[in-house]
Symmetry: C2
């Protein structure tokens, strides 16, 4: 019987081909593209592993792929998602988003970093364990949802309905993770919350010749003015009552954050920038990145944006805004403050559309058994210490699955700082992928013993 490492090496090409098959299948929840096909592929892969699987339907949503395998005193819950971000803008991809390509040791495809790589390698790691180590020393349960990139609108309801499935879960391995710029593995114990909305301003019945501009209100101007009351050039969010919703980080969180390395010059070079917002550097940048809330213009549109000129007075303008939340903010609270703020500042006419479900802030204990097992697994795999992050800069439904059920969580995965999640040329390094398979073996070993 080969060793684990030998088995992985022998199956390297097949594992990569499976990753190509996963990432060549579009699965964009926001566009209802290829979702059923992807769920079926994930289900089939888990069945091939020998897991007991169920495709659990979600009313008005995409189904959850659920699977169980192994037995033992401990139960490890794994959370992944089979949906990905929209691939647009297509023209900025070096190779097309649904045509996975390996170049210079990097695997490029939409979703490979977020989260199809980790989704698949965790299955491949269990396969390699079964083929080389024998029976699993613990029980593994997978929850693989199809709505993470649209804010997991149905996961909370799913978790409450299926609560019995999770009552024996001792810890949860969350979906994503990366090495930092110094090649330290990152272990993430929390997520920001999120509120994603659109603001719509409307004008005349139809677009007009811009000669009418002296007397006809332009919704694009109204949207600009309304937006300019939400955040100022000093990066202060100026929504009435907003500052009072922000709880500063705790002493323990700051202590953990002090270990997070941040090479300002290197980071600036990576992004092609001369400075960060307000000139923050080093630990100031770390604190801002992980502990401050944001409001981000993700999309902005009005009028004619094609080539050349068109002297049109548009009758509609909209913006897509993402609010990242920190304790003690909630999506409901921020939505309420925003509506009151717009009304109070003369923008009662601007319509708020809540297009995605919000997500609550999640903070998991920094010293739980699953975190300690992940630290040991990282040490065994990477030969140096992992960095424990009290929170990621991003969001996810950790609150719904873990915090609600009191399951400690940690997130770790195969990304690296230039993985370009949510952006063109999303990629992972192939070596990281295979190292992550080893990390999963070590996590199983250490968590089973914990």
């Amino acid at each position: 019987m080969p060793t684990f490492d030998e088995y992985v090496a022998q199956n390297r090409e097949r594992f990569l081909n499976e990753l190509k098959a996963f990432t060549s299948q579009p699965s964009v929840a926001a566009q209802n593209l290829g979702m059923r096909e992807m769920a079926d592929r994930v289900l089939a892969r888990l069945q091939k592993l020998g897991a007991q699987t169920r495709l659990i339907p979600v009313a008005d949503g995409f189904p959850v792929v659920y699977a169980e395998i192994g037995s033992g005193p401990k139960t490890l819950l794994i959370y992944d998602h089979y949906d990905v971000q929209p691939p647009e803008p297509l023209e900025l991809w070096t190779t097309p988003p649904w045509e996975p390509t390996i170049r210079e040791g990097k695997f490029f495809a939409r979703g490979v970093a977020d989260n199809k790589g980790d989704l698949l390698l965790r299955i491949q790691a269990v396969e390699s364990w079964l083929a080389t180590e024998g029976a699993l020393p613990l029980k593994i349960k997978w929850v693989i949802e199809g709505e993470e990139e649209i804010g997991s609108p149905n996961l909370g309801k799913f978790v409450r309905a299926q609560r019995a499935l999770f009552k024996d879960a001792d810890g949860c391995l969350w979906e994503f993770g990366a090495k930092d710029s110094h090649e330290n593995p990152m272990l993430i114990c929390g997520l920001k919350g999120i509120l994603f909305i659109e603001l719509h301003a409307r004008g005349a019945k139809r677009d007009l010749h811009s000669g009418a501009a002296p007397i006809i209100e332009n919704p694009a101007w109204r949207l600009v003015w309304a937006l300019s009351t939400l955040k100022n050039e000093r990066d202060e969010i100026t929504i009435d009552g907003y500052a009072q919703t922000v709880r500063p980080p705790t002493a323990l969180e700051l202590e953990a954050a002090a270990h997070i390395p941040f090479d300002t010059a290197l980071e600036l070079e990576k992004y092609g920038l001369s400075q960060f917002i307000n000139g923050v550097r080093d630990f100031e940048a770390v604190k801002k990145l992980y502990f401050t809330p944001t409001v981000t213009i993700c999309g902005l549109q009005s009028g004619y944006t094609g080539p050349g000129g068109k002297t049109v007075l548009p009758n509609h303008a909209f913006v897509k805004l993402d609010f990242r939340l920190v304790p003690d903010q909630t999506p409901e609270l921020i939505l309420d403050l925003l509506r009151r703020h717009l009304d109070a500042h003369g923008f009662a006419d601007i319509e708020i559309q809540v297009t995605e479900a919000g997500e609550h802030v999640a903070r998991s204990p920094l010293d739980s058994a699953i975190v300690r097992a992940a630290q040991a697994a990282a040490r065994a795999t990477y030969r140096h210490d992992a960095i424990v992050y009290p929170s990621a800069a991003g969001s996810g439904p950790m609150y719904e699955l873990c915090q609600q059920l009191n399951i400690p969580a940690v997130s770790a995965g195969c990304g690296y700082p230039d993985s370009r999640g949510h952006a063109p040329d999303e990629n992972i390094r192939v070596d990281d992928y295979f190292e992550s398979i080893t990390f999963i073996r070590e996590l199983i070993r250490h968590f089973a013993r914990a």
Copy 2:
């Protein structure tokens, strides 16, 4: 021999079919779409009339169709253009922009109001004259350019190079016009100037996951902040030094404007609005519409604007801005003020792209022979007085062709208040089209005698 009216009636169907042929040919200068084909169609139509024609090439631009016909003591210059606005957004057209359709007495197609209807009916009017009245009592010269909707970047140079062609022109019939809401024919003696630019803000090397927003500057926010310094919610343009460039209307201009009817309730209903900017009504609205400059957001784009959510931090944002100018503003002056203003307000990073040639303000005398002839022609055609406008709300190259060469000008045409120039469902009323043919007969008659 039939009378003029009988000839027009007999050829009604053919005239409309010619209009369908003209408007089913796309000719979008901004998109370099169908331009040569359209120039050829116009040239062929003038040749069929018996005019002496020339297609005059324009370096790095679209050719000018030039034609001459008739003789007499007076020379009437006619200015039209064979290019049209882009048809987007296509989904808002009831029938497709390049498939001319008559519904309820209205002729729908891109360009039919601006300016293919007037372009063609003026030729058909001359044909009808020649077929029924005999020789023309004056000389007519046509200048039909292909770049009006992109700001006539080459017309000034063309006019200076071909100055000899125009030295005998006694008056110019400008391209467009309409009846107002009270069915009064409008005679327009001036145009606003225009500066059309794009502002571009740029951020990191590439689009990023919006989790990076606490430290990475978002160009969409920067664009919003920069724009909010250009105009405030009271509709005051707040560019440094801008107010001093605006010369108020003269007593004569105000006196003429006092005759311009404006039914506030009717106009509001037409646009589906409850009020105009700052609540202006009646003569206040007239003065604002024709005598004040504007800055209009014609297009605004950043990030992801497709369906659903995408939590992206964009690395580029741009706006298309059109500045309509009044005396004594020039495109060069406003561009210079804008650059200085952006620099002074901390937006030196925002790039200005001048994507279209600017146009100067034009004001032609209100009592010239061509205006008096047009007034008499309107009275004969429509049986009531025309309204003389010191300026239109729109722009055009009248300065380049007429003011530079001291040729008095007047603009009159077949539109009506709901013609939707530059917008979806552009249309004219078929009856207005044929009345305008009569107006041209009367203008020829009266101007030849003037």
